[in-house]
């Protein structure tokens, strides 16, 4: 590895952006660097490293590093440790920054001033960017910028990073600091000594007192507090009313996913049906036509049809996030989470897992305590991710009648809500058992900054939903398409022998594998076609639906989603369908999730434990469901 050398001597000066979480640090990074940025991971840890560069008005090129958010250099989480070590020049393979820019949320200066006071001890040139200055002004917070700069002894620049306001001033200050650095380097003058050390309790209290003193001198609080946020919080954070509202919001969201998406889903289905009919009419019978209709159109079509539901679900999640409701939901859930042995901060990773367990597991980095973090990682895949939606929707549409309950609710939506609830309850139960059996001890107290409510930005919502939809379609058009082609191949070759009486798929490689594994899954009511679908479903859950589409289409069925629902409705018993749903609540059917757990825990032990416990739970849940359903006469 190359030696760590101060870059100023060898190239562009290195600037690091430091600040509390959610202070607009990344917005400032984007405003400064534009598209000139590179995202990777820090060596040996899975903390994101964002580096970019920009040119100052004087024409100097500056390398800039966007460090993970922290409240102090007394690091407690892996993210905070990276920030501390990079700032102090201790991070292996990372050059010490020449210049520090501390980004502050101007609406909440008290927290960041403690960090600024710590950063001053590092001995590097320091600038303070007072970000979100417009919001502070709007709320009536008066900040005497000159007084603040004089008291802190560092230049202070007001900025509004999202609108690039104040960046010209900031760049001027950076230019001045870079000139000073270059002069110092040319004259061989060394920079200020680093006097920072892990502070004692008394030193921490002294820093707090100093921050409070500066706040009193330089900041005048608003004469009228933000009554809008206070009034809303009085209702939304109420232990009873707040929880009821949260449940209502979630319930409404799942109802909407089912009912609002239907017309668009019907349109997509019709489109794929028409395409298949056109191919059948335009091409002569043969293996190429079979590949296109049974493999590609049936497989990919059965996944793409769920796009409207994914779009609706994400629109709700992003709207709630932008509105500022998500941290409140975490606050409301803290008591329930704590009862299950999970930290309050686990709510956000678990909520992210509704979209996909992978970002959810990565989001557990915000949890300081290793045991709390591991407990959250281990249960995150039990939350109902979007890849389960196609599976649940297919089975519900095939087996649950589309009729209203109490004249208001859709029965199918109620069942979907029940499946989500089952995922949440099982996650809480597993966490409870793990904390009692494996990681005994108390859960650390939960502290979280509650942002002010704001009207969601339409452009941001549209962009975020589009990003998710695009990722879903790309997956359908690449990985799922490829897997479907392979499934079609395995389901079609070798062909049926002369005089065969069974459908051709029975004689294929997939048929042989399915028949061979079937005794293992027979006790839980699965047939061999389901076994064939479960194997590629290990790569990604939703592939199972497309695989069922292909297997049944090759086996002589029709190649559209409506027909697949009809086929399943006729060839599966209700007990089998319920058993399949129970399997999908627990089964570790996602190789990428296991790979991320391996990376995040830096150990093979945890993904193996996760795979074994989830597979065992899936088998036991399916076994119990199938036999209870069979005893009720549904087999």
């Amino acid at each position: 590895m190359n030696a760590v050398t101060p870059v100023l001597q060898t190239g562009a000066p290195r600037m690091a952006l430091v600040g509390n979480p959610n202070c607009g640090k990344t917005a400032l990074f984007n405003a400064l660097t534009g598209s000139r940025q590179k995202v990777a991971n820090y060596a040996g840890v899975t903390v994101e490293r964002k580096e970019g560069s920009f040119t100052t008005p004087e024409g100097r090129r500056v390398q800039v590093l966007d460090l993970p958010g922290t409240y102090s250099l007394r690091a407690r989480s892996p993210d905070e440790e990276v920030t501390r070590d990079v700032v102090l020049g201790r991070f292996k393979g990372e050059a010490e920054p020449d210049l520090l820019v501390c980004v502050a949320d101007a609406t909440n200066l008290r927290l960041v001033l403690r960090l600024v006071l710590e950063l001053k001890q590092v001995g590097r040139p320091l600038l303070l960017a007072l970000n979100m200055f417009d919001i502070a002004k709007h709320r009536g917070i008066e900040i005497d910028v000159d007084r603040l700069a004089a008291e802190l002894g560092v230049p202070v620049v007001p900025t509004v990073a999202v609108r690039k306001a104040g960046t010209v001033d900031l760049l001027k200050h950076i230019d001045a600091q870079v000139v000073d650095l270059a002069l110092a380097a040319a004259q061989g003058v060394s920079q200020g000594a680093n006097t920072w050390h892990e502070p004692s309790a008394e030193e921490v209290r002294a820093t707090h007192r100093e921050a409070d003193r500066i706040i009193k001198l330089a900041v005048r609080p608003p004469t009228k507090p933000d009554t809008w946020t206070t009034r809303l919080d009085a209702v939304l954070l109420n232990p009873v009313a707040g929880l009821l509202i949260l449940l209502t919001v979630l319930f409404f969201m799942f109802q909407a996913v089912f009912t609002w998406a239907q017309p668009a889903m019907d349109g997509i289905k019709a489109g794929f049906d028409a395409l298949a009919a056109w191919v059948n009419g335009a091409m002569p019978d043969g293996i190429l036509r079979s590949l296109i209709t049974d493999g590609i159109i049936a497989g990919v079509g059965s996944i793409v049809v769920f796009l409207p539901q994914i779009v609706i679900l994400f629109t709700f999640i992003i709207l709630l996030e932008d509105f500022g409701y998500m941290p409140r939901a975490a606050f409301l859930m803290d008591k329930i989470m704590g009862g299950a042995g999970l930290h309050g901060r686990a709510f956000i990773p678990l909520l992210s897992s509704f979209a996909c367990a992978i970002p959810g597991i990565m989001a557990t980095r915000v949890i300081d305590n290793r045991r709390d973090r591991l407990a959250t990682i281990m249960v995150a895949p039990l939350m109902t991710c979007s890849a389960r939606i196609p599976v649940y929707t297919l089975i519900i549409s095939a087996f649950v009648p589309d009729r209203p309950v109490a004249g208001v609710f859709a029965l199918q939506g109620l069942v979907m809500f029940g499946l989500y609830a089952a995922g949440i309850l099982s996650a809480l139960l597993v966490a409870f058992v793990m904390r009692r059996l494996v990681w005994r001890g108390t859960v650390e107290p939960f502290l979280m900054e509650l942002p002010a409510y704001k009207v969601p930005d339409a452009k941001n919502v549209v962009m975020s939903v589009w990003t998710r939809a695009k990722a879903f379609l790309q997956r359908a058009g690449t990985t799922i398409l490829s897997i479907m082609i392979l499934i079609w191949f395995l389901s079609s070759f070798p062909g049926a022998p002369e005089g065969a009486t069974e459908p051709a798929i029975d004689y294929s490689i997939a048929g042989m594998i399915g028949h061979w594994l079937q005794p293992l899954v027979a006790p839980i009511g699965f047939n061999w076609q389901m076994t064939v679908a479960l194997i590629p479903g290990m790569a990604a859950r939703e592939v199972a639906v497309a695989a069922l589409g292909t297997v049944y289409a090759v086996g002589g069925g029709e190649e559209n989603v409506t027909a697949l629902m009809d086929t399943l409705g006729h060839s599966w018993s209700l007990a089998t369908a319920l058993s399949f749903l129970a399997w999908y609540i627990f089964a570790p059917q996602c190789a990428s999730t296991l790979a991320v757990v391996r990376r995040e825990t830096n150990s093979l032990k945890w993904p193996v434990i996760m795979f074994v416990y989830m597979l065992t739970l899936a088998y036991l849940a399916s076994l119990a469901t199938y036999h209870v359903a069979a005893s009720l006469g549904w087999a």
Partner: protein, 50 residues
């Protein structure tokens, strides 16, 4: 015969796509071992400039 050839090419391409990450990793490991490519950041063969 032409249909079979087209189907063969499509199936092989699909297999290559599915195995792409594994093939890439294997190729990268071989290049790093032969000294033809830099290792991951922080490793002894890293040359990312830091």
């Amino acid at each position: 015969m032409i249909q079979q050839a087209i189907v063969g090419v499509i199936v092989v391409a699909a297999l290559a796509w599915v195995l792409r990450p594994t093939l890439r990793r294997a190729l990268r490991r071989r290049q790093v071992a032969a000294g033809k490519a830099p290792g991951p950041c922080g490793s002894d063969s890293c040359n990312c400039g830091s």
